[in-house]
Symmetry: C2
Subunit: 308 residues, 2 copies
């Protein structure tokens, strides 16, 4: 199947109801932000052998590729609008693979109200590569940033941490546990949460590289320090503190807010049916300290932690 | 070098003067069109072994990756604004390769007044893949489209056709001819031409797949036919009619305009110092006919043409 037939059969239906896509029939798409809004744009790429094995259900590969980009939009408080897809496929890719992949895109589009606006499909002599550029909108000036955390702010995380890293470990050991494995394979971008936090959070980002590393980015961008309490970190079971502190791929949000926003945040938690847990506070200085339940410092490095 | 050091050292300087990039330090970029403008967005991917060999000067690979996207902006009449880069590199990629690649981006950015706004760098177990999303702006409603060609319009092309296909042939034969090879390796996106044609052309696109195929896209989108005269097609030498009709990678513009715009287009040609040649006319019906100098029909297929 040549590129034009491929686009007509598989991709035009994904773009059909988004006018700016120009039905994928022009050189580019034409996009304007909704009134009084600006655009939030992110681009993430995933590659076979690095981010996925290749033997997974193609629908899951597609869903994850789109969801990790949606998570960046969530982190900025944006409402999903449209996305561009670059799909680089080995020449022997089967029609079945492609159909399942497109099915995964379609399902994810519908779940998160985002449409295909354009892109490129090409063959590769290497392995499967997928690059997505996702575009959302946010009222002008209201995007959540990493840089707004203030001394005294509470530090919150959504959901539970460490599940995805455990899931990956189970997958690699070929053990079965659908809950943890799904948390790795199918991240839940916290779009509704990001939108609800627009006027409430002082800073936000998504946790893709691990709690400690990502909180470090907020501290650097905001020029502040932080203390977090290990026993307050929400986990699914009690054995996963290491992965909760340093495991990646959770795609939960970490955000900060002044203490007077606590009640508003509890209401958001209730209305979204999503735990939002205070795990520590923003401090002066530039250090990030993790305390255990006896207030002893836990020393962190990227690969894990050790008690003193 | 980890991803963060790589971004800090090589990519932040490319984004430094573009405020919407947020210094590549947040989850996404924030972008608004200039006043009374909309955004034109395109995404093209290139892959080692398919679009480039890999042994080329990395600066040229970078330049071409960005230029083919700029050519899509030119085809829509857009002014370049910013771009996103997804770079998938084998783990053994050298610092020298990366430095030259970044140098090629920098030079191209400066030449075409476009800035890096964001992206992703990741390793791959496969070969080099590069995906770029380029964003331009155009006064609202003024983008050039494929769909506006009208019966009786003149059909124009910029520059000369077939040079890039000849260049590729010479490269594959390991013959030397810098002019043709450069036309293949370093396409010239016709940004200034696209912008000048905003109020003048009735349709436009860039020629990446060959004159006949791409004019076919304009005819389909505009629901018209076309006749072109082979002896009017501008070529660098007389031996290259086949490649001029069907060779790809020229990245010249093909556009249509009513006959009363002829003088305005001649003025654009003069001011840009760029040949703009009438090669035929838009007709009723849906067929695309190529006539030789004796007005005999030349039969075209995608691989070339043959006389009756």
């Amino acid at each position: 199947m040549d590129e034009f037939s491929l686009i007509a059969k598989y991709f035009k239906p994904l773009a059909a109801s988004f006018a700016g896509s120009l039905n994928l029939s022009d050189d580019a798409a034409i996009i304007s932000p909704p009134e009084n809004c600006e655009l939030v744009i992110t681009k993430d790429a995933i590659s076979q052998g690095i981010h996925f094995i290749g033997s997974e259900d193609p629908a899951l590969i597609a869903a994850k590729a789109l969801r990790v980009n949606l998570s960046d939009l969530a982190a900025m408080g944006a409402t999903p609008l449209c996305y561009f897809l670059a799909l680089m496929l080995p020449k022997n890719t089967s029609k079945e693979w492609l159909e399942k992949f497109v099915g995964g895109l379609k399902e994810t589009q519908e779940k998160f109200s985002i449409k295909l606006a354009g892109g490129d499909t090409t063959s590769t002599e290497g392995r499967i590569s997928i690059s997505i550029t996702a575009i959302g909108s946010v009222p002008t000036g209201k995007a959540l940033r990493r840089s707004g955390a203030k001394i005294g702010d509470d530090i919150y995380v959504s959901g539970t941490l460490g599940d995805a890293a455990l899931g990956l470990e189970l997958l690699q050991k070929e053990e079965e546990n659908d809950f943890f494995i799904n948390r790795y394979l199918l991240p839940q971008p916290r779009i509704d949460l990001g939108m609800a936090l627009r006027e409430i959070a002082s800073s936000a980002m998504d946790i893709s590289d691990g709690l400690v590393q990502d909180l470090g980015h907020i501290c650097t961008a905001s020029n502040v320090g932080a203390v977090i309490y290990s026993d307050k970190i929400p986990t699914t079971n009690n054995q996963q503190l290491i992965t909760a502190l340093s495991g990646g791929d959770d795609y939960e949000l970490i955000f900060t807010a002044p203490p007077d926003k606590k009640q508003a945040i509890e209401q958001i938690s209730t209305s979204l049916n999503l735990p939002l847990t205070i795990i520590g506070n923003i401090t002066n200085g530039k250090s990030l300290t993790v305390l255990d339940k006896n207030n002893n410092i836990i020393q962190i490095d990227k690969k894990g932690f050790s008690h003193f």
